[in-house]
Assembly symmetry: C2
Homo-oligomer: 256 residues x 2
Amino acid sequence: MTKSTAQQTSLCQHCIMSGICFGQSDKNSAESKVRSHKIYHKSDILFRSGQTFDAIYILRSGSAKSSILANCGHEQISGFHYPGDLIGLDGFDNGSHSQSIKFLETSSVCRIGLGELDNAMANSASIRSNLLQGMSHALNNEDRFLLSLNNMNSAQRLSSFLLDLSAQFLQRGLSAKEFDLSMTRVDIANYLGMAIETVSRLLTQLQQDNIIEVQRRRVKILSLEKLNQCLTLERDPHILLTPNPSDANTIQTRVA
Amino acid sequence: MTKSTAQQTSLCQHCIMSGICFGQSDKNSAESKVRSHKIYHKSDILFRSGQTFDAIYILRSGSAKSSILANCGHEQISGFHYPGDLIGLDGFDNGSHSQSIKFLETSSVCRIGLGELDNAMANSASIRSNLLQGMSHALNNEDRFLLSLNNMNSAQRLSSFLLDLSAQFLQRGLSAKEFDLSMTRVDIANYLGMAIETVSRLLTQLQQDNIIEVQRRRVKILSLEKLNQCLTLERDPHILLTPNPSDANTIQTRVA
DNA sequence: CGTTCATTTGAACATGCTCAATTCCTGTGG
DNA sequence: CCACAGGAATTGAGCATGTTCAAATGAACG
């Protein structure tokens, strides 16, 4: 996921934080305002857990994973990031990062210092709104992911993961049906909470069912419909059916 | 978790959003500035998924659960809330709530309209900081919870849940060792992603091991140490060991 | 080419779910 | 005050999903 240099200015103008780089008045004289951005390579670390929080970042190109560390030393990947994503939001909590960010491929990143950010928030309603929206979005993403962990079996989780990636790529103007995974099987297994053997088996299964073609990092989705069906079919909502679906006091509206 | 009316003013002064209610200048003449708050009862809904986002809320007393709804109609609880918690942060994402909030007992809530909030953010650095901190905290909480879902077995998840509650109560000046659960076993099972029978079995197990005493909603922790050991002992980090713990390129620092 | 890492595949086993029945609490009405 | 009904919680036994362990295969890289 890299962009030609010709696209960079346009990339900046559509950035969620563009208000910081381009003043209200001169959105047109953009050329000179492209914020300096730093290039990182595969396996580079943007910041580590425990490190002082002094900036947030926007991923311009490439991809990264964020992870936290359990007491037992276990690394848990909490998300993957793609161009346009805000990174480092975990730091507002207590002044130091709780996550670590590691790049999965060559990537470029804009840094927005905390002082600069706070100034912008004081002066611009759209910056305030965009930042809150970004954080809220991250929260909702985690909620939905949580749902899939608690609610779905391995096959459904993996299908869901692939569909999610597909949507991410589509949203960024790339192919929704054919793409390269930037993470290893180990990363996928970690993220989805299953053994890497299970990931492997399920991928071959999907391939045998003519739903995807997969070869190493390359994935081709043969049928988005069938992949979607994997989520709904063979569902068995075992956990947590509340007894009174029609009760006005109850939150859920329908129970299978 | 309810507070006497005598404590309410003090409660407001320590509120994370107090800057909105009390101007910088007159933090002392507090009496008259206590924001009107609304009382809800058990099973009441604060807002539902899909509802227009027009305010955030602060829980003053009581407790609540937030949940989202899967396509299949399955309700997934994404968190429990206690006094001081910010509620409704999910709405910044796209202008409508993705969560639903349901009270678990009689509770009182302050409402802060979006306009009012944005004004306050424009004018007060501490409001900006507090809101971002609150959202970041919520994010980090979810990350840690995600880790426990992917990383721990049922016994560990339940122990972790109890310890978490204990810490929440302690932080709010209540007993860390003896408290009432405001949620049902069904809620616990839903949240922790297991069957309610498993919750039940594990609680009796913990009781037989003289780690807790539990009777219906009442929980007494006999040994916080032993409960903590439940998290670390019998650990078996099966998933996701990355091969090179000492590699500088790798995020985690140690692997069991 | 040989070493290393990533991935795949197979077979046994374990955790935790499902189904079913029972017990325990709480509130309600006789 | 007691009997009864309904929900919540507990307990037991069988079973399924997905893990563990072990070994083989495949791709990449020096």
